[in-house]
């Protein structure tokens, strides 16, 4: 392999080994801390302190419009969230969204990458088509898609009318369709990320393997099945897990396209958090919902670590 191996930075496998750690050199502590200090200050101010603040306020009736933490609430905010139908509804929407986006995002990205890798020419064009949306602002994407979905006059409804449905249900205005509409937008928007990850993974598969397989008379499909898919297994794990974590944090598209509606039929957890804290002024309850979401994300991240460690062991 020609490229130096870059560990996925989000996978903290590059922990210093015990040998390195014991290697404390005299006179390096002071400069080391000075080098770390500027970043460290920001890290403490905008990562550590917010986490602490969030934990504390989740146990208080903290109000946006009053000073201080307010009166002590015990586990009241957590109890409220865990018994609030809207919380579970939002959690379910978040999970449902995760499921209906992850599968097409992984499968389509995989297919596109295999095909693009196969044809090899006009790569710039496919990158333009599939990847560019990914780097555009969610707000711009939402404007484009809301327009496409606009009831009766939009591109999508016009198409459905032309195909013989005289009064199609407005996508973003129908409770059962709103989240699916957002999901389609999300697939369009973010597939480029998985696409380039798969392309990178594909380019690391040695050509010799395919050539050897061809010599053995394996068909194209057999080659994909027995070489490409297994060797992209790690990339797939990575893509799936990154996708799940990204979907759990979904906020932008829902806020922009449906604001959680109609009613609450597309509300997601982060939307509930900001609604509770900023619209209802209930920072304490919003913090509790945030903490619960963070716990779910940490669990998924933990599972990811376990899977990657198992894969590393198998690979070793």
């Amino acid at each position: 392999m020609t490229a130096s191996t870059l560990e996925r930075p989000t996978a903290p496998v590059a922990r210093p080994s015990a040998r390195e750690e014991s290697d404390v050199r005299r006179g390096e502590a002071r400069p080391a801390w000075l080098f770390i200090a500027p970043f460290g200050i920001f890290y403490v101010l905008f990562l550590i302190w917010p986490i602490i603040y969030m934990l504390i306020s989740s146990f208080f009736n903290t109000s946006l419009v009053a000073k201080g933490f307010g009166s002590f609430a015990g586990f009241g905010n957590y109890a409220e969230m865990l018994t609030l139908p809207l919380f579970w509804e939002s959690m379910w929407h978040t999970i449902f969204f995760t499921i209906i986006t992850t599968i097409p995002l992984v499968v389509l990205a995989f297919v596109f990458a295999i095909l693009a890798n196969r044809v090899r020419r006009a790569q710039w064009f496919f990158r333009l088509a599939f990847f560019v949306p990914f780097i555009l602002p969610s707000a711009a994407i939402a404007i484009v898609w809301t327009f496409i979905y606009s009831p009766s006059t939009g591109l999508w409804d016009s198409l459905r009318t032309a195909l013989g449905n005289p009064a199609p249900n407005p996508v973003l205005g129908t409770p059962d369709l709103a989240l699916i509409g957002v999901a389609v937008t999300t697939i369009w928007w973010t597939i480029g990320f998985n696409f380039v990850l798969y392309l990178a993974g594909l380019q690391d598969i040695p050509r010799e393997l395919y050539e050897a397989a061809a010599v053995d008379g394996a068909s194209q499909w057999q080659q994909i099945k027995s070489i490409t898919i297994p060797l992209l297994g790690r990339t797939t794990t990575l893509v799936v897990l990154l996708q799940i974590i990204a979907s759990l944090k979904i906020f932008d598209q829902v806020y922009l396209m449906t604001a959680g509606g109609p009613g609450t039929s597309s509300q997601v957890v982060l939307g509930l958090v900001t609604d509770t804290a900023f619209t209802n002024y209930r920072v304490g309850a919003g913090s509790a919902a945030s903490v619960l979401l963070l716990i779910v994300i940490l669990i998924v991240t933990g599972i990811r670590q376990l899977i990657e460690r198992a894969q590393n062991r198998r690979a070793a």
Partner: protein
């Protein structure tokens, strides 16, 4: 906390002085070589980097009006700008409902509110209790030649928050009944002048719907049942409030649920019976319910009066508007008012005068505003002949006196959690997917969570 907090004067105590902190930060900015061009590079940069004031001589104004209201408001803004010269006004329109109120709240907390903002009457009370608004005094009104008697007494009364006023009303916008004149004519529901004959009581109402249905072949009346919780609530609240013995839904600032259970069930039963008898559609959304009336598939359509703009834009549609018919004991309809509020900030006498002058200018244009269906709250316009000549708008001007505002609670008001929660359940009743008792019990459980929660205000 029920008392209205005193407006902090000067720098809110216990906070860093924003200016001094930012001036300190300016040193850091200078180190990055970006402070050099600050002075000449426009007000936004210096406001963004060192918190200086943006456009001191301009009135900033935020509203939430889209559609027809939006374009009428822009006309009114343009009139003001024409009077006061270019750059006298900066208006911004935000998405309706919660996003808008969130923006107003956060901006006020962050010391950057607009000079004037629009608020629903049912939302200004919460903003006021949260300490985000300036009280409006008679002295202030007098600065621009207004007084409390310039406004409809009913609206001015409803504005009170702990004996104080924090808002200047411009209108009342009730839930009303639209009717398709062609259909009603064929169903013999019009009088000699081509106006709807008065409908009183459930018998007459159902008879009218039956007659209309024969003409339309589809429905008698339509009201949104799907995907629009506010409408479901408005329809219910209008009928519920028409009955003797109906009590406000919430009491004690939202800590208690005070609705009349029997009347609620009775009202929901009645609403459901109309869809069960196929006099009204069980499944239709906001625009769908309009289209049914516009296209003659139903004779009547219930919605806020603001949809007049949409109805007027339909080619060949002849329609009229009247207050929601009195089906029970007394006239009543759900409604709200648009008001102007002055978010809390340090204002000079000049700024205050400019802000109030702008409000006065908009009030003076109440007739333009009334064309969008809203009933003026400004008495000189309300009593003017021009308004009385404005049809069908002035036909339901009396509804002002029978409007029922949503009860005050930190989770209540137009577009609030309360409307969403209750309206979602009542929508299920309309659709026939829940019994009135089941829907009420679910709504009650969900509301109790809010009622039992300590108010953040």
């Amino acid at each position: 906390m029920t008392a209205v907090p005193q407006r902090p004067s000067g720098n809110p105590s216990g906070r860093f002085s924003r200016r001094s902190l930012l001036r300190g930060g300016l040193g850091a900015a200078g180190a990055l070589g970006i402070a050099g061009g600050l002075s000449g590079c426009g007000s936004a940069i210096s406001a963004g980097l060192v918190g200086s004031q943006l456009d001191p001589g301009t009135v900033t104004y935020w509203n939430l009006f889209g559609g027809g209201d939006g374009s009428r408001m822009q006309t009114m803004e343009a009139t003001y700008e024409k009077q006061k010269g270019p750059n006298s006004l900066q208006a911004a329109t935000f998405a309706w409902g919660n996003p808008y109120y969130t923006k107003v709240s956060l901006a006020t907390l962050g010391d950057a509110p607009p000079d004037v903002a629009v608020s629903h009457l049912t939302r200004q009370s919460n903003l006021a209790i949260a300490g985000l608004l300036e009280p409006i005094t008679e002295d202030m009104l007098a600065m621009v030649g207004l007084s409390s008697s310039s406004f409809s007494p009913k609206v001015w009364e409803a504005l009170a928050v702990n004996g104080q006023r924090y808002a200047i009303p411009i209108d009342t916008h009730p839930f009303v009944l639209y009717y398709n004149k062609d259909v009603c004519e064929k169903a013999d529901l019009l009088d000699g002048d081509g106006n709807l004959k008065e409908i009183r009581g459930t018998d007459q109402w159902e008879a009218a719907l039956e007659a209309a249905k024969k003409v339309t072949g589809s429905w008698g009346a339509s009201v949104a049942t799907v995907g629009d919780t506010a409408t479901s609530w408005r329809w219910f609240q209008s009928l519920y409030s028409q009955q003797t013995g109906s009590t406000p839904w919430l009491g004690d600032g939202g800590r208690k649920l005070t609705y009349n259970e029997d009347l609620t069930i009775k009202t929901l039963d009645y609403i459901q019976s109309l869809t069960k008898k196929k006099l009204m559609p069980a499944i239709t959304d906001y625009t769908g319910s309009q289209t049914l009336m516009f296209t003659g598939k139903s004779a009547f359509y219930l919605q806020g009066e603001w949809e007049i703009t949409t109805a007027e834009s339909i080619d060949g549609l002849k329609f009229g508007m009247v207050p929601v018919p009195t089906l029970f004991d007394q006239p009543a309809c759900q409604g709200d008012s648009h008001t102007f509020v002055l978010p809390r900030m340090n204002r000079s006498e000049d700024q205050l005068k400019r802000a109030l002058g702008f409000v006065k200018s908009l009030l003076d244009q109440s007739l333009t505003w009334a064309q969008g269906g809203h009933i003026p709250a400004y008495v000189p316009t309300l009593d003017s002949q021009q308004y009385k000549d404005l049809k069908p708008q002035s036909n339901y001007a009396d509804a002002v006196n029978s409007v029922v505002y949503d009860a005050q609670a930190w989770y209540s008001g137009s577009g609030s959690n309360f409307e969403n929660t209750v309206g979602a359940q009542f929508g299920l009743v309309q659709q026939g997917q829940a019994t009135p008792a089941a829907a009420l019990s679910t709504a009650r459980d969900q509301l109790l969570v809010y009622a039992d929660t300590k108010s953040p205000l």
